[in-house]
């Protein structure tokens, strides 16, 4: 007869390396780089990760920052000129921003970092990867600007009115129900703060490039991007078309592409959970399929 000892069970609970408590804590900072000052948010713990924004500057320590900070020490700078909506005279090209962000890493004592760039920030990230590949551990391009191929030319953002920009930026329309801290909550894409800041970014980009969201010569330089690269794209992006994702994927040697269904130019806002699963899997070396991607 089997004998057992009721109540003498053992119980164990493994701890996790990353936690929400640490990931939710962040501090605002300011780095003086020559005559320019770069404000930034920093949170999380671990190896550094530089997160460059796109048309809209970060509006706070948002869900995407928290998700990345579960695995990394995240630095989210505001590009100088982006808060005021007016470019500083020291900045005359995308490469200037790239050099500035490398200098930012120096000031913050970041030797080598993972680099995530969204939209215009992706264009800067590409330039950084070309200028100083030894400083970049892994590269993540999210609906990145930068390409202007003849068959899929970059859009001219300066020609877009509010309605056209809104239509191009988002896959969803009106109010979208997303996951909140207390169930599903509506996110007003058109009337919310995000789109207002996108309009500010449109002005800055127009001032910097005349409104063109890429450069013809970029495609031929992609063979020199040497680090592991993830290309993440909203399938319904009409600002930087999804064909650009596949061009990046076919020209960057150590790259893979993840297309997020039902997202436009801002997958981290429209599909934040999917976005984070894709990016964090890449950062942590997991190779798991993610629902809602292909």
């Amino acid at each position: 007869m089997p004998h057992s000892e009721p109540g003498l069970g053992k119980m164990s609970m493994p701890t996790t390396a990353a936690g929400a408590g640490i990931a939710c804590q962040y501090t605002p900072g300011s780095a003086q780089i020559g005559k320019l000052k770069a404000e930034f948010l920093q949170g999380g713990k671990g190896a550094p990760l530089l997160y460059l924004h796109g048309l809209s500057r970060p509006l706070g320590w948002d869900t995407d920052h928290i998700g990345l900070a579960l695995h990394r020490s995240v630095y989210a700078p505001v590009l100088p000129g982006w808060r005021a909506g007016r470019l500083p005279p020291e900045i005359t090209s995308v490469q200037d921003y790239a050099r500035l962000m490398l200098a930012f890493m120096d000031v913050e004592n970041i030797g080598k970092s993972d680099l995530v760039g969204h939209s215009f920030g992706g264009w800067i990230a590409l330039q950084m990867a070309l200028l100083a590949p030894e400083r970049i551990e892994r590269l993540v391009l999210v609906d990145s600007m930068g390409l202007d191929p003849a068959n899929f030319p970059a859009v001219d953002i300066s020609r877009m009115d509010d309605a056209a920009l809104y239509d191009a930026a988002f896959a969803s329309r009106g109010v979208l129900v997303v996951a909140g801290d207390f169930g599903g909550v509506p996110l007003d894409l058109r009337g919310g703060a995000l789109f207002k800041h996108v309009l500010n970014g449109q002005r800055n980009l127009t001032a910097l490039t005349g409104g063109t969201c890429g450069e013809e010569s970029m495609l031929s330089t992609l063979k020199d991007v040497s680090m592991d690269t993830l290309i993440v794209w909203g399938e319904e992006d009409r600002l930087t078309p999804v064909e650009h994702a596949h061009l990046f994927g076919s020209h960057i040697r150590r790259s893979r592409v993840a297309i997020i269904e039902g997202a436009g130019h801002f997958p981290q806002k429209e599909k934040p959970q999917t976005f984070l699963q894709v990016v964090c899997n890449f950062l942590t070396g997991r190779n798991e399929p993610v629902q809602g991607t292909h």
């Binding site: 959970q273 999917t274 964090c280």
Partner: protein
């Protein structure tokens, strides 16, 4: 223990925790759903099985046992909040009651509709109103206007005090997927994110009490107004259970008692008539869970965790009885579970029924007549237990003797779980026509063995 203390009225509520709690404990929120599922299965097993082994991704438990077992058989009804598709599917799969907290009526409706659809289309059962619950914060008073003003202050206090520390800088990722709210249609009155609705809540120009009420946050007023609103809410949302929090924010004990009194007297009689399930009642999962089923595949082993044998040598055996009535004779081995010990130590003898991983406790029976011949195949056999004065009668096996003679080693499985507590009787009965040759239960070759589980709680430790 709570189920025993409350006489079988315990309702376990299973929650993943608020995001703020995952922040406080510094846990990875991407693991929340998996942890919840593991915890549910462990607790469920602990309530329904004698010994629990669990080897999961997050929890490893060996030989755990809880005592005493719940009064509700086979287990208390589980409730859980279910707003996301994943939670709704989990609740529907396991027949759990789905709760919605502090949400407008339309959101409750959308979630419960999705639960019904999934239960019907994916799991083949039809939920009743009792499978749904709404939660409302409430304050009632004799004077309508005064009660509304008091309710506003109570809820405002709650938001100022308890609400603040749980705010994260942004919605925590990982709790849900982007597909979690596909069933939800955007509702501009949802105060948790709609800037217009939030503005209206703060605006002195709008009727704040009505906004709080319609947002599902705080219902206050006199009994008549509260009853009318709740009747509409329950009918439109489709819930059959209502959870009420009377103690809100800085409300006093006296106010809460007054609210309860008014609610019980004037509101409950109205609500009882709404969304009442039929006699069958809601499904509490007993049918869905593979814990108690009438027949289990013969390929499964017998119950493996037995720690006790009920047989002719067991201390519980008190005698043999014979009754002749209406042309039939019934003989039985009579067993008795001891009364509760002087030191308060209780005992339970459990005869496990079929479960997902076994086909029930093994019952071996051989019966011969006084001349050593095998008993006739069509004699009826029953294993039953009951409390003093025949209360709580449970039948663990009911069949004919042929089932034993045709089974390997004369051994069959218990058909249903039975729990014999202190002072309960257990009987193994054999019935046959008075004209048939009776078995001799005292014959050396007439034997029985029930491989059961004896739960003994010693307080000496």
């Amino acid at each position: 223990m709570l189920d025993c203390l409350s006489g079988g009225r315990f309702i376990p509520g299973m929650v993943r925790g608020l995001p703020a709690e995952w922040v406080s404990y510094n846990m990875d929120p991407f693991t929340a759903r998996k942890r919840f599922a593991e915890a549910y299965h462990i607790i469920h097993r602990a309530l329904t099985q004698e010994l629990v082994d669990y080897d999961g991704e997050f929890w490893n438990i060996a030989r755990a046992s809880i005592w005493p077992k719940p009064v509700q058989n086979p287990f208390p009804p589980f409730w859980m909040p279910a707003g996301s598709l994943e939670s709704i599917r989990f609740a529907a799969e396991h027949h759990l009651v789905a709760c919605q907290t502090l949400q407008p009526t339309i959101v409750l409706r959308q979630c419960f509709d999705e639960y019904r659809r999934i239960a019907t289309e994916e799991f083949g059962w039809h939920p009743g109103f009792g499978n749904f619950a709404g939660l409302r914060f409430m304050h009632l008073g004799d004077d309508h206007r005064t009660a509304i003003d008091e309710g506003l202050e109570m809820f405002s206090y709650l938001m100022r005090s308890l609400g603040r520390p749980v705010l994260n800088p942004a919605p925590l990722p990982g709790f849900n997927t982007d597909q979690s709210y596909k069933h939800r249609h955007a509702n501009p009155d949802d105060v948790f994110s709609s800037s217009e609705a939030r503005h209206n809540l703060k605006s002195p120009e709008v009727d704040q009490a009505a906004k709080f009420r319609d947002a599902g946050l705080m219902l206050s007023g006199n009994a008549k107004a509260v009853a009318e609103w709740l009747a509409e809410d329950a009918t439109a949302a489709g819930y059959g259970n209502l959870i009420v929090t009377f103690r809100v924010g800085n409300s006093t004990h006296r106010q809460a008692l007054k609210s309860q009194e008014l609610f019980a007297k004037h509101v409950m009689p109205i609500l009882r008539k709404i969304n009442a399930d039929g006699p069958a009642g809601p499904s509490n999962g007993a049918a869905a869970e593979p814990i108690e089923v009438r027949s289990a595949p013969a390929a499964l082993p017998f119950y493996q965790d037995s720690n006790y044998l009920l047989n002719r040598d067991a201390v519980e055996l008190v005698g043999i009885s014979r009754n002749a009535r209406n042309g039939a004779v019934t003989l039985s081995w009579e067993m008795q579970v001891a009364k509760i010990a002087d030191d308060g130590s209780p005992i339970q003898i459990i005869v496990p029924g079929p479960a997902a991983d076994h086909r029930g406790c093994a019952i071996q029976l051989r019966l011969v007549t006084s001349d050593g011949a095998e008993l006739t195949d069509d004699a009826r056999v029953m294993l039953e237990a009951s409390g003093p004065d025949d209360v709580d009668r449970q039948i663990m096996f009911e069949g004919i003797y042929r089932q034993f003679t045709e089974a390997a080693d004369h051994t069959v499985a218990a058909q249903r779980r039975g729990v014999a507590k202190n002072d309960y009787s257990i009987r193994l009965l054999v019935s046959l026509p008075s004209t048939a040759a009776e078995p001799d239960l005292e014959h050396d070759e007439s034997t029985f063995t029930i491989k059961c589980f004896k739960h003994l709680l010693t307080l000496s430790a």
